[in-house]
């Protein structure tokens, strides 16, 4: 082989390598067309009575039953947040990691930033589970506080409280009496309180009214989920603390009234 041939081979090889590098690098630098077709969603939580932010530990509220009452603290779980599309499709966010704890004493719990990216498009409503569904509500799945402090005793059905709403009301003797409006798994008693024959799952689905929205490319939407305390006590059944007393974890009838009333407790502000 002559020297000129060698030179020609070297030049051609060099050109081929350069062309390869150019092609590869041009592939890498192409923007990902999928990346911009998502947005993010974040909930913050607000807690109100009669449309105003709660003034805690102040006996200034009157419920539908006429009970004067105060609220000391509210702690609860929401889970299974689902975005419903116009075409009937559903998107559950952060599945199995979506049990979110909210505590009026802990600010860091009052923001729920979803990990999942939300595809752009129109959604006609948002729903979630108040509490935790039967499949997910397993004892010791939270071992760290504050969630672990929400455990629901094994004897009463296990898992976790859906909610603790603690406060006080002015009872019929004009005494300030504590109430623990606690919701979770109910019990069926053969003879109260020693013989339990079954359990009742009291969690329920919340459909947020006026929760349609459009997710745009690269957007982060911040929605406020409002818990309106007075709604626990008024519709469809008036809840009277004088009737149900200070504790209801072992009173399924009271929890049933409360959960039936829960349909309109939550609202959304966009």
């Amino acid at each position: 082989m002559k020297i000129n041939d060698w030179n020609r081979i070297k030049v051609l090889t060099l050109l081929a390598v350069l062309a390869g590098v150019f092609l590869i690098s041009s592939c890498e630098t192409n923007p990902d067309p999928v990346e911009d077709e998502f947005g993010k969603l974040r909930f913050s939580f607000a807690h109100r009575i009669d449309g105003q932010a709660i003034v805690f530990d102040d006996m200034q509220y009157i419920n539908k039953a006429g009970n004067n009452y105060l609220v000391n603290e509210i702690q609860y779980f929401i889970s299974d947040v689902i975005l419903h599309k116009n075409d009937g499709g559903e998107l559950m966010l952060d599945a199995w990691e979506d049990i979110h704890y909210v505590d009026t004493d802990l600010e860091n719990t009052q923001i729920y930033a979803f990990k999942d990216e939300i595809p752009v498009g129109n959604y006609n409503k948002i729903t979630f589970t108040f509490g935790i569904n039967e499949q997910k509500n397993q004892t010791l799945m939270f071992v760290n506080p504050p969630e672990s402090f929400m455990f629901w005793p094994e004897y009463l059905g296990g898992g976790y409280h859906y909610m603790k709403l603690n406060g006080k009301w002015l009872d019929t003797l004009n005494q300030v009496s504590p109430f623990d409006f606690h919701l979770g798994i109910g019990q069926i008693y053969h003879s109260f309180p020693d013989s339990i024959t079954g359990f009742i799952q009291n969690y329920f689905e919340v459909e947020l009214p006026n929760s349609s929205f459009e997710m745009k490319s690269g957007q982060t939407l911040d929605f406020t989920i409002v818990l309106n305390v007075e709604d626990w006590f008024q519709s469809p059944t008036v809840y009277d603390h004088n009737q149900w007393g200070g504790d209801i974890m072992q009173t399924q009838e009271a929890m049933k009234v409360a959960c039936d009333n829960g349909w309109d407790v939550f609202s959304i502000e966009k």
């Binding site: 506080p145 094994e154 009872d171 003797l173």
Partner: protein, 403 residues
Amino acid sequence: MKVFNHIFEIKRIRLSFNKTVFPAFESVFVILFFILLFQSACNKPPQEEPYTPTPYQLEIPFGFPTKLNIPEDNPMTVEGVELGRYLFYDGRMSGRTHPDSLMSCATCHLQANSFECGIDHPEYIGGFTHGITGKPTHHVMLPLINLVWNSSGYLWNGKIYPDNPLPQYRNIEDLVWMGVIAEHEMNSDTNRAKEVIQNIPGYPELFNKAFGSETVTFKNIGKAIAQFIRTFITANSRFDKYMRGELQLTQSELSGFVLFTTEEGADCFHCHGGFGNPLFTTHLYYNHGKDTVFTDPLDRFMITGDPMDHGAYKATTLRNIEVQGPYMHDGRFETLEDVIEFYSHDVKWSPSISPLMHHVNRGGVQLLPAEKEDLLSFIRSLHDEDFLTNPDFSKPPKFPDEQ
């Protein structure tokens, strides 16, 4: 001079490199070897062992939290824990050496009593502690158990907590210096304590192993003792074994467990835990109805300024509670029977009563005599004798200067 000669020799060899390459190389290596040997002999470092502490692995018992309260600047090490054990038990931590004046953490915190005083302490009659000069401690003691899971504050009022804006009041480390200087405890000063420890043979070496310096600082004293205290894990009671499926509780214990965890029973679980919270405390603060008038200047209100915290104190863990009398912040109850009687019939209303005390307007949970017995049986199932006698937590057979 010798070094100069060596250098001269090297120069001469290099000049003749081309002529006698390999013999010259050999000579160079030999000379270099001696130079290095000479230099290393002259610059010999002090005989300090390198700082290579061994990480201490805490085993998390079944059902316990996985988040631990271990400050970033005080990771647990085997050497730190070992040093902490000596210091915890060494009466010279009081900054004094006369046998009459010694006082250590262990003077009051007895292992047999869950690292608190206990009602049967030989010196502190009835469980009421006082300092070295006789000044009484403001509150009775709290046990030093499972504290690595407490992030909600130490002491009855939670004065010590991790995000305290005052950095000297944040964690177990800080309880050490507080104990040394407090009039109602050691009534000493940290400099004196530090100097005494520095001058005890054996301790500087242990500090070097634990923290990389033989110089004793009080900060490192606090760190070592805190590390030792964080190893105090009690999780092998009958109830723990029940949780792990290793045994069945007695019928009385089971009945007591049901009472413990039901609102219509004794209603203990919201503050004192249970199967889902095996710490048997929330480490939070409640006014649970002991009084109607509050005069203690060191209650939770002192920390928060929240009127709803008048008369509120930490919910203590019920693990090993049987050996932790007297009970309540002021030790007003001598026995667990007294405590159960209080919760059953003598709870008092006040404006700041915790909402969790929903039985208050009928005086308590109204347990029947048999129910009180069952509840007591269950509470006794939280007794962990293995912990109370674990040699790893006991006084070392010899202190560093006695080895």
